[in-house]
């Protein structure tokens, strides 16, 4: 049935290998000769499915985490603090860890569970200890479970002996974590690398030019002033927007000024992740020149919020590292850099020279391509400035944790920014505010083509009304069903509507999306599975005897879809039609011959 084309999920591994396409790609992809072969390592598979940065860290074995804690100050301490405040640990775990750091030494687990914590909190205590062991903070106690294994519940009665043994053991902090955390508490430095100070820039301005003339150097790019906050923001927006526009396939004219196509490496990356694929409808001769179209995974990607989007890219980048020889080392570098970037402030920059190893430099360059960093030349040396994207990535993954946060508590600054943007008569390209009405009308305050395309995924495009600053859409059954056919889930649609709801809605106590709309979308989702279509072959039996005989035979073969006794009709799955008809012929001849 070629009626409706399903853009099925592409298997990542069967995508055309990226090595052909991009010559200037990063170290990881060019030196991955076996990119097409699947990796059988279960650890890598689990890592590849992490939903957030700290979940990735949780899935790493503790020894890898200890390596990261052991990095020299102030990076190690910052990572230790970031892990401490992440949602991988429970609140009680944090308190226990900090007490152990402050008081030094080791304590019997019995002391911890019984004297520090009330009786009715003891279950939480064991959970906390287990999480601490998982994250490489406590020395191994035998409590930790690898992801995928079943963990024994310490509080069961059957485990009395185990519990008693556990109580006698000591809880002892791992050395790496202890030194890292102690350093964090004592030092007063909150930035992982030395900052570029104003004095340096001033000094360069005065002396640097003279030095350049003296050396007669081949300095190609001139140094410039540090980027302002606005510049950083627009850089993130434009580089991210260019990727999104490319995904959606908007034309040149639609994109507006300042948005260009993302570079080759990014395009290759998009294909590798499975967000885009070569157009299966392309009828041209050379298949490698087919234009790229978005897949259903790509649609799903579009509907998620920006932190999840950025994380997908970073995750795929880390997965691509899995084929490298030095993967552990690079992974440690990449993760530590990512977490340290999350502790930076937007607007403060660092010279590239502060990075130690060459892997670090490569990682920074790659992150720059994603739009996470802004690279420029300051005071004579290359420098990078973290943007909001990477800071928010780490921040949101600290908070979100395991569950996909449906309603994301917006920070004060973000909601204020949104309100300012909405107060302007002509809305900006970046902010989207939706109001969903009970009559299934969606009012969107935006002008950006990108948002229109995203909304057009599940809203009815043919009847939209467009005013200079507002667009009206309708949600109809057909539009939602076509979204489902593309592979979008009802949850994703609802989450998208929640995240982009207008801030004024948040002040009242009405739900952000009216409940009848929510219910109706969920019902339409359930409708898809209420009716299952099967292709069958209908056989009309001549009489009851034939009907019973044929029905037995067919049900033995598991071929029977439905049998109607009063009309003597049998509905057989199409694949078994041959066999059943042969059987019926034999049976009839047998009957005739009797």
């Amino acid at each position: 049935m070629g009626g409706i084309k399903r853009k099925a999920d592409e298997d990542v591994k069967s995508a055309p290998p990226p090595t052909k396409r991009d010559k200037k790609a990063s170290v990881a992809t060019t030196s991955a000769p076996s990119a097409a072969t699947t990796s059988k390592d279960p650890l890598e598979e689990i890592l590849a499915s992490s939903n957030s940065l700290f979940e990735y860290l949780e899935n790493l074995p503790p020894r890898a985490l200890k390596l990261i804690y052991a990095l020299p100050a102030p990076r190690g301490p910052l990572v230790a603090a970031a892990v401490l405040r992440s949602s991988s640990l429970t609140d009680l775990a944090r308190q226990i860890a900090l007490r152990l750091v402050a008081c030094g030494g080791t304590f019997k687990i019995q002391t911890i569970v019984e004297s520090w914590i009330h009786r009715h909190g003891s279950r939480d205590a064991f959970v906390a200890l287990r999480r601490l062991e998982c994250m490489g903070i406590l020395m191994p106690l035998g409590l930790a479970t690898r992801p995928g294994e079943e963990g024994t519940d310490i509080d069961d009665e059957g485990n009395e002996a185990k519990r008693a043994k556990l109580m006698e053991m000591d809880a002892c902090l791992t050395d790496q974590f202890k030194t890292a955390m102690a350093a964090y508490l004592i030092t007063s430095c909150s930035s992982p690398w030395p900052l570029i100070t104003r004095e340096q820039i001033e000094e360069y301005k005065k002396n640097g030019d003279i030095k350049k003339q003296q050396d007669g150097e081949k300095e190609s790019k001139p140094s410039r002033d540090p980027p302002t906050l606005k510049e950083l923001e627009s850089y993130t927006q434009s580089s991210w927007d260019s990727v999104l526009h490319f995904l959606v396939g908007s034309d040149e004219s639609d994109r507006g000024e300042g948005i260009k196509e993302p570079d080759e490496a990014m395009v290759g990356f998009l294909t590798q992740i499975g967000l885009m694929q070569s157009d299966p409808d392309y009828k041209g001769k050379d298949n490698s020149r087919a234009p790229l179209v978005i897949t259903s995974k790509g649609y799903e990607f579009m509907l998620r919020d920006s932190n999840a989007q950025v994380w997908q890219f970073v995750l795929q980048y880390l997965n691509a590292l899995a084929h490298h020889e030095q993967k552990d080392q690079i992974r440690v570098e990449a993760l530590s850099i990512l977490i340290c970037l999350g502790s930076c402030r937007v607007g403060e920059g660092y010279h590239m020279s502060v990075l130690g190893s060459k892997y670090a430099r490569v990682v920074i360059k790659d992150f720059g391509r994603f739009g996470l960093l802004f690279g420029c030349r300051i005071a004579g040396k290359n420098a990078f400035y973290p943007t909001e994207a990477v800071v928010n990535l780490v921040a949101s993954s600290e908070k979100a944790g395991r569950e996909a946060s449906a309603i994301i508590g917006q920070s004060v600054a973000a909601s204020r920014a949104l309100e300012d943007a909405l107060a302007a008569p002509v809305p900006s390209r970046t902010h989207l505010a939706l109001v969903v009405q009970t009559n299934f009308q969606v009012v969107a305050y935006t002008r950006s083509k990108l948002h229109i395309s995203t909304l057009g995924l599940f809203c009815d495009i043919s009847t939209f009304r467009k005013l200079p600053n507002v667009i009206f859409f309708h949600i109809t059954r057909d539009s939602i069903r076509s979204a489902f056919r593309l592979g979008v889930l009802a949850d994703q649609i609802l989450r998208f509507l929640h995240v982009h709801a207008h801030p004024m809605l948040r002040n009242s106590d009405q739900p952000l999306v009216p409940s009848n709309v929510i219910d109706q979308i969920l019902l339409w989702d359930k409708e898809r599975h209420r009716v299952v279509m099967d292709e069958v072959w209908v056989h009309q039996c001549r009489d009851d005897a034939e009907f019973t005989a044929a029905r037995h035979f067919a049900s033995d073969l598991d071929a029977l879809a439905w049998g109607a006794a009063h009309t003597n009709k049998l509905y057989i799955h199409i694949h078994y039609a041959e066999q059943v008809s042969a059987y019926v012929r034999r049976w009839r001849t047998k009957q005739a011959g009797r």
Partner: protein, 381 residues
């Protein structure tokens, strides 16, 4: 498992120069004696110990959650000021409120500002004290009364104002008086009655940590001077206001080693007890004398006792207030009294009848026609 709510911590430090001056005298004397016996210091804490431990405590507090905010207030006998965030420049209050995504508290700046601010406050207080001493000598006698104790009441009221400002900011402009738990989405299985029945502090709504990333406020007062008796009224008013706003107050008292100095602050105990309500328990600790106060042990004490967030306190074993001294106190002298006089306008209690006017409300004291024997009303304790 409750998620990790961001908390706003207000740290009120007692910086009165007279108290800390005495302590350092005691300490140097004791250290000399112990050093002669080749033992390490076991003396009372000096102001440096307290500042170091507070900074470590704040660092640990910031490690709990990226959105945790700290405001440090220094209190001396004559002045109260916000030490961190500092007015103007980097790291001011605006920066802290508006920081997007990155850590709210810049620890480098914080360390610097705290030390700088403490030094400034102490210097100013010492100068003012010298001036008043000089004036007293010149003008003769007790015309200008000596103020003992430290202005905790002023610091606490400043803290409550700052908390209110942060709550307004973190509600994104909505007034902080509106109840956080009922304005936003109600859960599906709650009926209308649950919505109607939620007022501040009562009902099960108050038990849950606030939703959506709003700040939970709490206060920690570190005191080592004796209480200032004339402030009792103001102090209790602040405590009631804090209770109403669901602000939990913790108290830490650092006694000296001398027997004649108080080992605990009754006012602080009462405040801590007052704010322990439905939402959480205040913790009061009088740091034990001796080695628990020196060599970094104070930071151990602070981190172990005062760090746990409010919703976690019922699960952990933390020092509880057993006996709070609730006896009535004279509003003028601060002593505990059994029998006293009550003003019939404002109901304040005095040991001796005020001659002209009530100290608290200023109402004129009327005498009966027969002169001396004024009304005597028993005050039941």
């Amino acid at each position: 498992m409750a998620t990790n709510p961001p908390t706003l911590l207000l740290l009120i430090l007692d910086l009165s120069p007279s108290t800390w001056g005495h302590r350092s005298i005691i300490r140097t004397a004791k250290d000399k004696a112990l050093a002669a016996k080749k033992k390490s210091s076991a003396g009372p804490a000096v102001i440096d110990d307290v500042i170091e431990s507070s900074l470590a405590f704040i660092a640990a507090f910031c490690a709990l959650n990226r959105d945790n905010v700290v405001v440090v207030i220094g209190a001396t006998e004559s002045e109260v000021g916000v030490v961190y965030p500092r007015k103007g420049g980097d790291g001011s209050m605006n920066d802290v409120v508006n920081s997007r995504g990155s850590e709210r508290v810049d620890r480098g700046l914080m360390n610097d500002y705290v030390r700088l601010g403490v030094a400034e406050l102490v210097k100013r207080a010492a100068e003012r004290r010298e001036q008043t001493e000089k004036q007293r000598e010149q003008s003769g006698e007790k015309i200008i009364p000596v103020e003992e104790g430290v202005a905790i009441a002023s610091a606490l009221s400043l803290a409550l104002c700052i908390i209110n400002r942060f709550m307004v900011a973190s509600h994104a402009g909505v007034s902080a008086l509106s109840d956080a738990t009922t304005t936003y989405q109600r859960r599906d299985d709650e009926g209308v009655l649950a919505l109607m029945g939620g007022d501040t502090g009562s009902g099960s709504n108050a038990q849950e940590p606030p939703q959506r990333g709003l700040l939970t406020p709490r206060t920690l007062i570190i005191q080592s001077s004796p209480d200032r008796t004339s402030d009792y009224n103001a102090l209790m008013n602040c405590a009631f206001a804090a209770h109403k706003q669901n602000v939990v107050i913790d108290g830490c008292f650092i006694p000296s080693d001398r027997k004649e100095d108080p080992t605990s602050s009754p006012y602080l105990e009462q405040i801590v007890h007052q704010t322990s309500g439905n939402t959480g328990n205040g913790i009061y600790l009088s740091v034990p004398k001796g080695p628990a106060q020196v060599n970094g042990a104070l930071s151990e004490v602070l981190l172990s006792v005062f760090l746990p967030p409010i919703h976690l306190r019922k699960e952990m074993n933390l020092p509880k207030l057993n006996q709070v001294d609730f006896r009535a106190r004279c509003f003028e002298t601060g002593e505990c009294i059994d029998i006293g006089k009550v003003c019939n306008q404002c109901l304040s209690i005095f040991k001796e009848r005020p001659r002209e006017r009530c100290w608290t409300c200023g109402a004129k004291v009327r005498l009966k026609a027969n002169g001396g024997s004024a009304k005597r009303m028993k005050v039941d304790t």
